[in-house]
Amino acid sequence: MFKKILIANRGEIAVRIIRACRDMNISPVAVFSEVDASALHVRLADEAYAVGAAPSVESYLRIDRLLEAARLSGAEAIHPGYGFLAENAAFARAVMEAGLVFIGPTPEAMELMGSKTSARRVAADAGVAVVPGTTEPLQSYEEAREVAAGMSYPVMLKASAGGGGKGMRFVAGEDELLAAFETAQSEAAAAFGNSEVYLEKAVERPRHIEIQIFADQHGNCVHLGERECSIQRRHQKVIEECPSPMNDAALRERMGAAAVSVARAVDYTGAGTIEFLFSDATREFYFLEMNTRLQVEHPVTELVTGIDLVREQLMVASGHALSFKQEDVRWSGHAIECRVYAEDPENNFLPSPGQITRLRVPAGPGVRDDGGVDENTEVSIYYDPMISKLAAWGRTRREAIDRLRRALDEYSVGGIRTTLPFFREIVRDEEFIEGRLDTNFIPRFFERRAATAAATDATVSLTEEETQARDIAVIAAALDYALRQRASTAELSSRSQTEQSHWRLAGRAALQRRS
């Protein structure tokens, strides 16, 4: 086993990997940009190295500096986390050429699965159905227009190098295509350094279901069941659960087998995820893409299977066989995760960077929080706005929801806006509780919300409780205001006292000189 590894990432995933290192008595080495010099992941590490300025292209994406940090620290392996260089084959190759272990799949597997277009070919060759669409990147807007017209709207524009919803646009009709094409290209270029985009037919009301797979260097390849990630906003997952509310063992077997055959086709090693679109109407599933890294939402799989995926990654990367076989994998209970973002749900989810003035993280039975911040952390404009992932486990989905609701209400973040209020509403939403999910859940949720607001007569007076809470808010603001007034007055008077005493001292000195 490794004695020391470098974590080429920041935020919650760096903290998560440090925790696995501690469990295994491995010394964790952090890297940081200028604005992250005193970040949580740095303080939890044994060693930390500066890798450059705040923009990630000047720091967390600088392969040369990351390798230099690894050399200085004497780390034997590099864990890329997710995002940044996690799916960059050139990085994996550079790590290997430096004589270090890259904790992830081979660069060849990353290249085959990293391009969404070549991944679709691999899946199709492995006998797994893919969503109808182009397998080659689009050369021009004209080509996009022809292809889209050929497969009929609505269509999906996606970045070849994509992930996290960046460079992805839903296009309902041709009038939207040009703007969407340009935005998708420039977003893809900014996010991945590659502006290639391709087109897919949009499947109506699909569920987004993915299979976690794991493979070692000894020919073992298994699946750890599904995660349902249908609840997405702007193609970004916001709530994930394991198992899917459908909880269908036969379907899990079918999808698991398909995922394993895709992974085997590229001699995959380590943790990976195969994403599928699932049609409720036909019970068919289509290969979407493979993520050749640890996923953000891995905790829900961990909670239900009891397997520590990061620990397993480190074991497999150091040459050990998987610690379990397919028949050992048991799914117990239900887990749901919310991604807590520094975004303002009341203001169209605009980013809300700033300093976290107060933080209370929930705990208690069945609750797990994977955070990357603490009190006084400055949430920077330079990186992803996710500040933590809150997950709850219960024996049943209903029990998991009860615990998640309790934990969300307990969670308190001051100084910045977060998506917590949004999640508090979702866990109380009837459709969510019933598990009627598809990728249009959020737009429909907002429609329901608007309809409720419209049906509620604005002239109807508030309930007594609401009036009281509002009055209490005014009283609290007034008390705080009064305290601040007093504090600033006190500061003024103490300053004048200091000035006075300086004056007095100077006077005394002058008197002494005279005598």
């Binding site: 960046k166 703007a179 935005t183 420039s186 977003e187 900014a190 996010a191 702007r234 520094a342 009341e346 203001n347 605009l350 980013p351 809300s352 960077p353 003035t357 107060r358 404009i381 330079y382 990186y383 992803d384 706005p385 969300l408 209400d409 308190s412 001051g414 100084g415 917590l420 209020p421 508090r424 009036t467 009281q468 809470a469 509002r470 009055d471 209490i472 808010a473 005014v474 009283i475 609290a476 603001a477 007034a478 008390l479 705080d480 205001y481 009064a482 305290l483 601040r484 007034q485």
Partner: protein, 169 residues
Amino acid sequence: MKLKAEIDGQSLTAQIKVDGARVFAEIDGRSYEIEARVSAPGVHVLALAGRIYECLVDADAARREAFEVHVGTRAFAVELRDEKRLPHGGLGASAQAGGTAQLVAPMPGKVVRVLVEQGAVVEAGDSIVVVEAMKMQNEMKAPRAGTVTMLHAQAGATVKAGEVLAVIE
């Protein structure tokens, strides 16, 4: 302490007397007798006849009379006016004046694209500029139909929250 408070689009009159931990408040004629303690800066614990309210108060960095108050899981924007101390007219200042509307950057970020030219005629909801923050590109849309009379946004420029990107008349 006598204040005017603006909350949820309503104006309330508040009269508050503090005696140690005891607070006597009258909000629009409703009387409250409260025990109030500060557990940490900005964290006020108010007890009203046994009912506990944990209130987190964040003062606006720019305007000391504007607050965001969390009462339990509920959030309120509160603006106070202390007739003794605060200048008049600070309440409810609007970005809109006459027939013009300003397109204001709602968060700090970088302008990646400007989609219209000065003098362009736009519809409400048309995209004017694209601002990138936290890796997401956000299309800033025209708040109303009209002519773009001023365009301050430049591709590549960094903008601060509250900065005027364009003016539409």
